[in-house]
């Protein structure tokens, strides 16, 4: 276990109980009426969902940055999150979202469609440039179809449902979502973790990695499957939550020796921590309606991204 894993695991252990107590109404287990019920049925599943979703997004961000050898890569750029979102939007458009399993199922189908498209275009050659372009194409196609769905929404209610859902949130989620998303994200993180050593070799470029015995085609499949499972499952239960995959590896890297394999697991923990803390913060903020988690993280993420760019510019200068 490296230092970053220990640090973020420790912080997560501290943050979880605080998050369970935090909210518009702070919970006092001894005094609040129905405290046990609120904890067991509302706060605990929501906190666990934040942890699982954040872990998936963090790990996939670290793996994508390692694969593309680019610290500005975000898993959302590569079509899987927009594909999942498109699936969910389709469910809302057709009014299927009243059945509890259908929206996540549609989102997972959307993610699978995006993965299949990515694999069909870039999977055979295993080239990084082709993969990036294919991802951007899938992302923009899914984005355009989502915009089309919004503009042609059958009624104002469906349109507001879609827009609200796209903003990403963990409000009113239950154990059902936790049990749906946990095995998928766990499987995805495991696949990404397995890609770690090959990502280390990629530090020296694609040709060296291949000369060291890395099967770049298999690596691409591992990544598509790993990112597809983690990001697809996250979008399926929480909507679009951006910037986590971009920010988190940067928080983790200084605590590691910067090998991509050493960043993946701590990024899962740091992602879990970030989403848990952010979701607790949006509950505590004294606003009329609760700030959507996706919006909050974007408000946090955009300045961070700018800071990152400025720091890189200083580094280049």
């Amino acid at each position: 276990m490296n230092r970053a894993t220990a640090v973020f695991a420790g912080l997560l252990v501290i943050a979880l109980p605080l998050s369970l107590l935090a909210g518009r109404v702070w919970l006092d287990p001894a005094a609040t009426p129905n405290a046990a019920l609120i904890l067991a049925e509302l706060r605990l599943p929501r906190a666990l969902l934040a942890i699982v979703v954040g872990a998936g997004l963090g790990a996939s961000g670290a793996a994508m940055q390692g694969y593309l050898r680019n610290p500005l890569a975000d898993p959302g750029l590569f079509g899987i999150a927009p594909g999942a979102a498109l699936g969910a939007v389709a469910a809302l458009w057709f009014g299927y979202a009243t059945a509890p399993w259908l929206l996540p199922a549609f989102a997972l189908l959307g993610a699978a469609g995006a993965m299949a498209l990515l694999a069909a275009i870039a999977g055979r050659t295993g080239g990084i440039a082709l993969f990036t372009l294919a991802g951007l194409m899938v992302a923009s196609l899914a984005g355009a179809l989502t915009a089309l769905a919004i503009s042609m929404a059958p009624n104002a209610f469906a349109m507001s449902e879609i827009v609200l859902w796209l903003n990403g949130a963990l409000t009113d989620r239950s154990w059902r979502e936790v049990s749906l998303v946990t095995p998928l994200v766990a499987g995805g993180v495991l696949l990404l973790w397995r890609a770690g050593r090959a990502l280390d070799a990629l530090t020296l470029g694609e040709a060296v990695a291949r000369s060291l015995g890395v099967n770049t085609g298999r690596l691409l499949w591992l990544l598509i499957a790993g990112v597809g499972l983690t990001v697809g499952a996250s979008v399926a239960v929480a909507g679009i939550i951006g910037f986590v995959g971009l920010i988190v590896p940067h928080l983790v890297r200084p605590l590691t020796d910067r090998r991509p394999s050493q960043v993946i697991v701590p990024s899962a923990l740091a992602g879990a921590l970030l989403v848990l803390v952010a979701d607790s913060a949006v509950r505590v903020l004294p606003l009329v309606t609760e700030l959507r988690l996706g919006i909050a993280l974007s408000l946090l993420g955009a300045p961070f991204f700018l800071w990152l760019l400025l720091r890189m510019r200083r580094g280049l200068a």
Partner: protein, 242 residues
């Protein structure tokens, strides 16, 4: 124990090239820009799928060989000094052990010692100078204890002292029985330091043999289209124009 290309062709880049390389020697691949040197090296390393012909290591077709077996035997050093993350030198060199599935300290330390960079082991990659980076990347290849070292322009971007030092290290490896194949732009380095020179011109083999023959003045004039002449004694040659 040979690495042999048998009539390999690849698009416009290589046409019907055959050569058999012997271990324990340094072979230089020379030729003008665009002659197909890097393609030939990558094909010999099993990294490039050729259209026709075969590349065989000890008689076994590289295409049929599991990637890991090939990686244990053939070390490849590309021209680009690409290091994407600011990782410690030791973990870079340890990557050389990847085909063996271990991080044994013995070969890693030996590679660091061989290139006089043991004191750099804890440094970060981005803090290294160009010469230090070149030696670290070669150490990565040596740590894998390959029987073949295939290096594309390993001397480019190095000053003369570092060039000669690197050539000394490669000669030591060849003396231990490793087959060394280098793409070299500097014909004088090829002339003075290689045991054998392969000259490529527009994807075909223009000359192949001992340095003095393969880099004969007439070959150079014919392939590079410049009037030149060699001066000095064997092993201490210099190329001058005219």
């Amino acid at each position: 124990m040979t690495l042999a290309a048998d009539r390999i062709s690849l698009g416009q880049r290589l046409a019907d090239v055959s050569l058999a390389l012997e271990p324990g020697t340094i072979t230089a691949i020379c030729g003008p820009n665009g002659a197909g040197k890097s393609s030939l090296l990558e094909a010999l390393a099993g990294l490039l799928e050729v259209d026709r012909g075969t590349v065989a290591l000890d008689g076994a077709d590289l295409r049929d060989m599991p990637a890991r077996d090939r990686a244990q035997r053939v070390g490849y050093l590309p021209q680009a000094h690409e290091i994407a993350w600011d990782v410690p030198v030791r973990s870079l060199v340890e990557l050389g052990r990847m085909p063996h599935g271990d991080r044994r300290a013995g070969p890693v330390d030996a590679a660091l010692e061989a290139l006089d960079i043991a004191d750099l082991a804890e440094r970060r990659a981005q803090s290294l100078s160009g010469g230090e980076t070149a030696r670290v990347l070669l150490a990565r290849v040596l740590a894998g204890e390959p029987r073949w070292i295939l290096a594309d322009e390993p001397l480019a971007a190095l000053d003369i002292a570092h060039q000669l030092a690197l050539l000394r290290h490669l000669r030591r490896a060849a003396d231990r029985g490793v087959g060394v194949v280098l793409v070299l732009h500097d014909l004088a380095h090829a002339m003075n330091h290689a045991d054998r020179v392969v000259v490529l011109d527009r994807g075909t083999l223009a000359a192949d043999g001992a340095c003095e023959d393969a880099l004969d003045q007439r070959v150079v004039e014919c392939v590079w289209k410049v009037p030149v002449r060699w001066i000095g004694e064997p092993n201490h040659r210099a190329l001058v124009s005219g």
